[in-house]
């Protein structure tokens, strides 16, 4: 009896390790297969991904709040220390901004008058949704955010994500109640831009670093440190003139842009629908309708 069970073990152990090895190989090749499938058709997993993110949204939403509150509390204490100094800076800035307000009002009324004269059709209606940042779905080579607004709030692929300061990124995929925002610093981000003062065209390419790179700048274009970079509106992705950042360095590593909007310590973003049907925007008609009736 003893001998028998011993022989069973002797046979079973190698069999088991063989089965384990087989499982490893199977799972490893499955993962690599998924990598290759995803690479050849990046959209193929989008639905599953957003469905999973949708499921975790309530949890992330609840968990992101206390973290934000704690960080706010720390900010409050830090602000108290600099209150006096900040007050002085703000007063000076306020005086300056009042002048600008005056200039803006004058220009606005002038603009309106000129538009009436020209019968200008005007910009399309802009709608926006403000969403809470609930997740940082970034890795070493990905820069993206999760927000708690999705298709049911009217958010669609291609909408611009902006903060009060400037452009942050664009909506890459949407779920029912969540969406993923691809930041302008991501490797896959390419945005047609203009140097505001000289109107020189270029493309802002994310390269994973904090400062995206300005590429395809024409050779005779004048770009200097401090030049403001805005969206050009080419390709119909974003409207023209959205502020992005300023040129921070010009050197061997190319022209680098310090962006106005930073994904760090960000609680809310505005997802803006400019009514554009650009290269990446989806048509507002659902796919099921356009592909004919379903059986």
């Amino acid at each position: 009896m003893k001998e028998k069970s011993g022989s069973v073990v002797r046979v079973a152990a190698p069999m088991r390790s063989l089965a384990h090895r087989f499982a490893f190989l199977l799972l490893l090749s499955a993962s690599i297969g998924l990598l290759m499938i995803g690479h050849s058709d990046p959209k193929i997993f989008d639905e599953t991904r957003m469905a999973l993110i949708d499921t975790t949204t309530p949890v992330l939403d609840a968990l992101s709040r206390p973290v934000a509150t704690a960080s706010d509390a720390i900010d409050h204490i830090r602000e108290l220390a600099h209150l006096r100094q900040e007050n002085a800076t703000l007063k000076a800035e306020n005086a300056r901004l009042l002048q600008w307000q005056h200039a803006a009002r004058t220009l606005l009324s002038e603009n309106n008058q000129l538009r009436t004269l020209l019968n200008f059709s005007g910009d399309q209606k802009v709608t926006s949704v403000t969403a809470r940042v609930i997740g940082d779905s970034s890795g070493p080579f990905i820069r993206s955010l999760l927000v708690n607004a999705g298709a049911r709030n009217g958010v669609r692929r291609g909408h611009a994500a902006v903060t009060g300061k400037g452009l942050l990124g664009r909506v890459a995929s949407t779920g029912e109640r969540s969406a993923r925002v691809l930041l302008i610093s991501d490797l896959n981000s390419r945005i047609p831009v203009l140097v505001e003062s000289t109107r020189a065209r270029a493309v802002l390419a994310g390269d994973n670093s904090r400062r995206p790179r300005l590429t395809f700048v024409s050779a005779n274009a004048e770009v200097s440190i401090g030049s403001r970079i805005v969206t050009s509106g080419h390709g119909g992705m974003f409207p023209a003139g959205l502020p992005i950042g300023v040129v921070a360095e010009i050197g061997d590593a190319g022209i680098r842009i310090e962006t106005f909007a930073s994904p760090d310590r960000l609680e809310f973003v505005r997802l803006v629908d400019f009514g554009l049907e650009g290269v990446i925007g989806e048509k507002h008609t659902p796919i099921a309708q356009s592909s004919g009736p379903r059986k």
């Binding site: 384990h20 499982a23 490893f24 799972l27 490893l28 499955a30 993962s31 690599i32 297969g33 998924l34 990598l35 290759m36 499938i37 995803g38 690479h39 997993f45 599953t48 991904r49 999973l52 993110i53 975790t56 949890v59 992330l60 968990l63 992101s64 973290v67 934000a68 960080s71 940042v133 609930i134 997740g135 940082d136 779905s137 970034s138 890795g139 070493p140 080579f141 990905i142 820069r143 993206s144 955010l145 999760l146 890459a172 993923r180 691809l182 490797l187 390269d207 994973n208 670093s209 904090r210 994904p263 760090d264 310590r265 960000l266 609680e267």
Partner: protein, 171 residues
């Protein structure tokens, strides 16, 4: 009779703990901590979980579960699907095969092992990103993540030890 049922349920729940804990860690990994630059270098919690359980209790975290954890991470983070699944499976294989060496060794030896593993993971992540994008990328983000992993391991490792103590002994 009733107690027997409860005991069974209790045992099952305890046996599922390593897997469920890993799933929770994958979700926690997504929470924005509002630290400047944190997102780019957030430590890879699931990696630590897989390493720990593969070394200490591989029977409670079979390779199929590791695969699922990797896939979940891939889907929730914006990365390419299959990347974390492949990496975690490889880490699991390496850790299980070296478990005998680490058996009964001090924490520092286990930590050293984790350093080696996370360096390998950083290299793999960098390589995959380069292959998929078709560019030679700067490896710094992967190295930063690696450093964060190594720094965070003692904290998570302590948590795993506490959880480990509540689990039933190996049969």
């Amino acid at each position: 009779m009733r107690t027997a049922v409860w005991q069974h349920l209790d045992l099952a729940a305890r046996k599922l703990t390593p897997f469920l804990l890993s799933v929770v860690l994958v979700i926690l990994n997504l929470i924005p901590l509002q630290l400047p630059g944190y997102a780019a270098v957030s430590p890879h919690f699931a990696l630590m979980a897989v390493y720990y359980w593969a070394l200490h209790r591989p029977s409670l975290l079979p390779s199929g579960a590791v695969f699922l954890i990797g896939l979940l991470q891939d889907f929730l983070s914006g990365g390419p699907i299959g990347q974390n699944a492949a990496i975690l499976i490889l880490v699991y294989v390496v850790a299980v095969s070296q478990a005998r060496f680490f058996y009964g060794k001090s924490f520092f030896v286990v930590w050293w092992g984790f350093m080696m593993v996370s360096l390998g993971v950083a290299a793999a992540e960098w390589l995959i990103a380069c292959l998929l994008s078709g560019f030679l990328l700067a490896p710094e983000p992967a190295l930063f993540e690696c450093a964060m992993n190594i720094a965070a391991y003692p904290i998570l490792g302590w948590l795993f030890v506490q959880v480990h103590r509540t689990l039933p002994r190996e049969e």
